[in-house]
């Protein structure tokens, strides 16, 4: 359950709208059920009153929409950003993808988001989800009493290792308690590194074989902002939608992750939206972990204007041939 209420946020937005400070509000809109929330643009206090929602399912990172809206709309756009979303926002500013003048960024303290897919796994026919301090009461078609799932069990993957220690690059911050980080985000990466190559190969072969090449991971990614994606270029010889074979799957996922390496803020949207639940963040985190350990710690989106590691170098950098020995030494 979020500490800050939807009322607080929509009230804030409504007053700015009414005062003429902003013309649009980019937020989350409620759906048919308690969990199917859609990013949406609100233009009036009435719309906010009717449809605005802020709860544990307001997972969507809204920063990427600002590229589109700052280009197509005239007038200031209020956007609600969770602490982790602000990294994406700041990275987009660094890359000059957003017209900052058109944005009124409001930071929202977040108490951690819930993963609808995790809740769904053990509940058929969810009719309602009520949020409590400790977790969720899941009402279904098939049991009279609601099932309880704790906040920790239902937590969204990215929130397990929350990096939301601070909001950055904001116009205004709503006061409130922020979720405290827990797990080391590189645990799973290290676990995979410690497997044998055969084990790793089979792990990824199994995960990537489910890929249906829907491109949702790419399309949702706030770092994937090319005007024309290499995968959409028919002359590149890359499959952009055919799940042709395991080579193409690896090719797509390696290149997708590589193209955002050094710019990926680890916002976790790719894994969240994957219809086949492929742990795509483990590819991105591998690059982040390698960058951190080879070239020094770097958090994309933390400092506006910072130089991404892949467009930078040091004359004393590690040689590719030394990478494995060096890392094995670190892990030992």
């Amino acid at each position: 359950m979020q500490k800050v209420t939807a009322k607080t946020l929509s009230g804030k937005a409504a007053s700015l709208l009414n005062a003429g400070e902003v013309k649009y509000v980019l937020g989350w809109k409620k759906g048919e059920f308690d969990y199917d929330i859609t990013p949406a643009l609100f233009e009036s206090a009435e719309e906010l009153e009717k449809d605005f929602v802020w709860n544990d399912f307001s997972c969507a990172n809204l920063s990427k929409y600002l590229i589109k809206y700052t280009r197509s709309l005239s007038g200031k756009i209020l956007v609600f950003l969770k602490p982790c979303d602000t990294f994406s926002f700041n990275q987009l500013l660094t890359e000059h993808r957003i017209d900052r003048q058109k944005v009124y960024a409001v930071g929202v303290p977040c108490s951690g988001m819930a993963d609808e897919k995790k809740i769904r796994e053990n509940a058929d026919g969810i009719t309602a989800i009520s949020e409590t301090e400790e977790g969720y009461l899941v009402h279904t078609l098939y049991s009279d009493a609601p099932a309880f799932i704790s906040k920790e069990e239902a937590l969204l993957e990215k929130c397990l290792s929350c990096k939301g220690w601070a909001h950055i690059a904001l116009d205004e911050q709503i006061e409130g308690e922020v979720f405290a980080p827990s797990a080391d985000r590189f645990d799973q990466v290290k676990a995979l590194e410690n497997m044998t190559p055969d084990e790793r190969y089979h792990f990824w072969q199994n995960e990537l074989s489910r890929c249906i090449r829907c491109n949702a991971c790419r399309d949702v990614c706030p770092a994937c902002t090319c005007e024309k994606c290499v995968f959409d270029n028919p002359n590149s010889g890359v499959e952009n939608k055919a799940a042709a074979n395991s080579f193409e799957e690896k090719m797509f996922h390696i290149i997708r992750a590589f193209h955002v390496a050094g710019r990926c803020t680890d916002c976790g949207e790719c894994s969240r939206v994957c219809p086949q639940k492929i742990p795509l963040h483990l590819l991105n985190r591998k690059f982040i972990n390698d960058i951190d350990s080879f070239y020094g710690e770097y958090q994309a989106g933390l400092d506006e204007g910072s130089r991404a590691p892949l467009v930078d170098y040091d004359t004393g950098d590690l040689e590719p041939s030394q990478v494995f020995d060096w890392r094995d030494g670190q892990n030992a």
Partner: protein, 342 residues
Amino acid sequence: MRKLSLENLNLAFASIAAKYPLYLPQDNSAGDAEYKKWEQGAKWSDKTNTVKSPKDFFFPQTEDLMAFQVSGKSIDIIDTRKESEDFVVFGVRACDVKSFEVLDNVFLTEPADSYYASRREHGIIVSVACTRPLETCFCKAFSIDPSEPAGDVSCYKTDDSLYLSANTEKGEALLAVISEYTEEADDAAVSKQKESINKIMDRLPLASLTPASFGGGKTKEFFDAPEWKSLSEACLGCGTCTFVCPTCQCYDIKDFKTGSGVIRYRCWDSCMYSEFTKMSAGQPRTSQLERFRQRFMHKLVYYPENNNGLFSCVGCGRCLSRCPIHMNIVKVMKALGGKKDE
């Protein structure tokens, strides 16, 4: 009606698999169901539906159409088609069975698509009634009864048994393969199950959804509706809805250069993708709004117009649970279709 004790289910699967490739929804490592080839020890998933629909069996995501050998100025066409063999798809839900009819209308109308037709002829479909429809299910809106699934064989799974009845010759032949494990039974248990399914159907959150205001000839009515703007606004333009949809049938034909020749293959395409209609001469659908509108207009207006009122949606609910931004046909129907009642 034949009755198969669930204790003998694996033996029955083994007998079928000895004769035909047998595909069955099984749980994968991500906790979802997917169709996989049956092998000894495989467990039939309890999930109501698979992530990918079984349309893959008849209209695979990627398939080779032919090959070419090019030398100098000359071209040889190589027919790479292989003779299909009979196969069994087990555990298909009523909505997905209906989706084959929707696809048939496209692929089997003249000129028929022989790749699809041959697989349809060889596929034996065993459907199963839904005892646990989900909150995202709305097949009833499209007059599909999950307690009366069609297919070559229909079956009903109770706590201890599987009740099977053949609807076609292919189905009879399949039941003959497992006859040693089945016995004749009356339909008391099945009637009871149907009744309970129908009760659940009435309680579903989307039970009252209806496509009544849509249908052929309504292009003008809906095409310029202002609602499309807010509905499509958050759409990412990915292909998730299309690729999990059992009735989406758009495809692309592309060439792959192998180094020694060329393979011409077909793969699923999505009208949500920006290059779907892109030509060197121009782009008729320049915005995501137009692409988004195309997908739903096709399902709710264009397709019924060309197919005697049949909608190109079966209410399986896959897009409801998989869309990254939770925009789906139900929201579209409610936003556009509800207007007239007010």
